[in-house]
């Protein structure tokens, strides 16, 4: 395997909020790798340590232990910052500056030439539909516009790695579509994308690999392929909950039976549908509906968070 773009080895971080307060273990023994051109999604409930992971990566906080490798070498801040673009959860830029000024600043500190800056600003603001707002002070921006402005700020210097912390939060459906398309485009351009979210459907649609972070530990990782396997060509029939006798009867049917929130889920190969339907009709069990997948990411997520892995 080629050298990963970013590798975290056994990174731990404990916050010490001061005298007489309990220490908080934000991240424990976290090991993960993000390969070049990969889209990695870190998911987890609030307070799981997602933002801490990103801050450690950015050098805003020092890990207590472990190491961070960037292209196989220990991370050197400054070098690394040239390669990344970062979008925080609720980007707050300045009140009285215009979007253009803040983007010019971004370009200048990243060392872009003047024409490059001009071209990139036009390109990005056009794509994110902010070209009208270029000369307005950021104070007058709506939440969604600020989020998009933050994306412009992150991408202006054309970074090869993009770190996004909750990129979709606070956006309306149109805004989400815009951001979604941008991420897909970045993916096509071969950028490495590392992002945190708790909006699972976004993660599911975008990510090549996912990690579930629970209480500072990486509880589980799976690749898109693993996930797809669970969605193999099967029909998932949703049945009402049944007593033990009925359940024993259902167990004899081809396919697998699993308990879900709404009742029972019977997964069968499509070829056996007629046969199964007949049996169900005989048993007097109605089919309440179908589901597209056997285990939704949400269920996987909840199961992982609660400690059991299905």
């Amino acid at each position: 395997m080629s050298i990963p773009e970013i590798a975290l080895n056994n990174v731990s971080k404990t916050y010490n909020p001061g005298l007489f307060k309990k220490k908080v273990q934000a991240v424990q023994d976290l090991t993960l790798e993000v390969g070049r051109g990969e889209v990695y999604g870190l998911i987890g409930p609030n307070g799981a340590g997602k933002s801490t992971t990103i801050r450690v990566l950015l050098g805003l906080i020092r890990p207590d232990g472990g190491e961070i490798l960037f292209r196989g070498e220990p991370l050197r801040h400054g070098e690394f910052q040239k390669e990344i673009g970062y979008l925080p959860e609720n980007p707050y830029l300045y009140d009285y500056l215009t979007l253009e000024e803040i983007l010019q600043f971004c370009g200048r500190v990243s060392g872009c030439a003047a024409e490059d800056r001009r071209r990139r600003i036009d390109e990005l603001t056009g794509k994110l539909q902010l070209d009208e707002a270029l000369r307005r002070p950021l104070r007058a921006f709506s939440k969604g516009m600020l989020q998009r402005a933050g994306i412009c700020f992150a991408l202006l210097h054309d970074p090869s790695i993009v770190i996004l912390d909750e990129p979709m939060s606070g956006l309306d459906p149109l805004g989400r579509k815009l951001v979604f398309d941008i991420v897909l485009e970045l993916k096509e351009q071969g950028k490495t994308i590392f992002f945190c979210s708790h909006i699972l459907s976004d993660v599911e649609r975008l990510c090549d690999r996912m990690g579930v972070l629970v209480k500072g530990r990486l509880a589980r990782t799976f690749a898109r392929q693993d996930f797809a396997a669970s969605q193999a060509a099967e029909l998932h029939l949703l049945l009402p909950a049944a007593d033990d006798n009925l359940r024993a009867e259902l167990e004899t049917l081809p396919g697998r039976l699993a308990a879900v929130a709404e009742g029972l889920l019977l997964s069968i190969p499509p070829s056996r549908l007629t046969e199964t339907a007949a049996v169900l009709a005989r048993l007097g069990v109605e089919i309440r509906g179908t589901r597209a997948e056997r285990v939704s990411l949400e269920e996987l997520f909840i199961a992982t968070v609660e400690g059991g892995v299905s």
Binding site: I61, H77, Q81, Y86, Y94, Y96, I102, R108
Partner: protein
């Protein structure tokens, strides 16, 4: 250097567009107007009173600029986590400190220049109204005193930045900076009072020694105070000006270097 300058530029712009500036300007104009109004109340030294009030108005407005707007420029970055965005760019922490300082300095210089224009206009006006009472007045000394108000504010801004890097709340850094200023302007009188030995037997040795240490750690703002000379149009010896400038420059460098050191260790949550 390009990066430092880019940060200085946005800091300056953010500061100069802050609405609070209008309030501070209004305050300065009020004091200057008051000056024109009350000048006639004085019998002889109208020129002196005018200079006193002008320079004090400049000082107070300058202090408000530093304590509110400049503090805001520094503190908001940390409070609102903008600094995380800034540090996601290739900008080192030292460059950040220097850039912020230069930005704040530019902001203070420009604001003070605007105020100085108003102030000079007031002096011209009062002088036109009472031409016989401005015998001792001298523009060069007046502007020298004005320039050293700027020097005081430059030192104070550096102190503000140092406190912003070590405290976690902007209110704490405001309080510390205000205290540093108050001690800095009063320490001289206190030190000389204690040294004068007039009714000072009860003061313990420990207090005297503490005072001595403090007098060398905090800057003595009286060194940069030429209001008295300006009021009477006295000639200021060039050595004094040189010493005052050197004192300020070295102090600013030390304070900013300390701020950089503190910032290297700081974590941003």
């Amino acid at each position: 250097m390009n990066r430092v300058w880019a940060l200085a530029v946005i800091t300056y712009k953010e500061g100069i567009r802050n609405r609070s500036i209008f309030g501070i300007l209004a305050f300065a104009l009020f004091v200057l107007g008051l000056n024109v109004a009350v000048a006639g109340f004085f019998m002889r030294e109208i020129g002196k009173v005018t200079v006193d009030m002008n320079l004090s108005a400049l000082t107070f407005s300058g202090l408000l600029l530093v304590f509110f707007v400049a503090l805001h420029l520094m503190a908001k970055d940390i409070d609102k986590k903008t600094i995380q965005l800034v540090f996601s760019k290739p900008l080192s922490r030292g460059e950040y400190i220097v850039g912020k300082y230069l930005g704040i300095l530019c902001f203070v210089v420009v604001s003070l220049l605007v105020l100085a224009v108003f102030s000079s206009a007031t002096v011209l006006l009062v002088r036109g109204l009472y031409p016989n009472y401005f015998a001792g007045f001298s523009w060069p000394v007046f502007f020298t005193a004005g320039f050293f108000i700027l020097v005081q504010l430059a030192v104070l801004s550096a102190i503000l930045i140092l406190f912003s890097t070590v405290t976690t709340s902007s209110f704490a850094s405001l309080i510390f900076t205000v205290c540093a200023y108050l001690v800095g302007v009063t320490i001289e009188d206190v030190v000389f009072y204690v040294k004068s030995g007039f009714r000072t037997e009860q003061i313990s040795e420990a207090v005297k020694q503490t005072l001595d240490v403090v007098s060398h750690i905090l800057p003595n703002f009286a060194m940069w105070d030429f209001k008295l000379e300006a009021a009477h149009g006295l000639v200021i010896a060039p050595e004094r000006l040189g010493l005052a400038l050197g004192y300020a420059a070295v102090y600013i460098v030390v304070v900013l270097a300390l701020a950089c050191l503190c910032f290297q260790r700081r974590e941003f949550n």
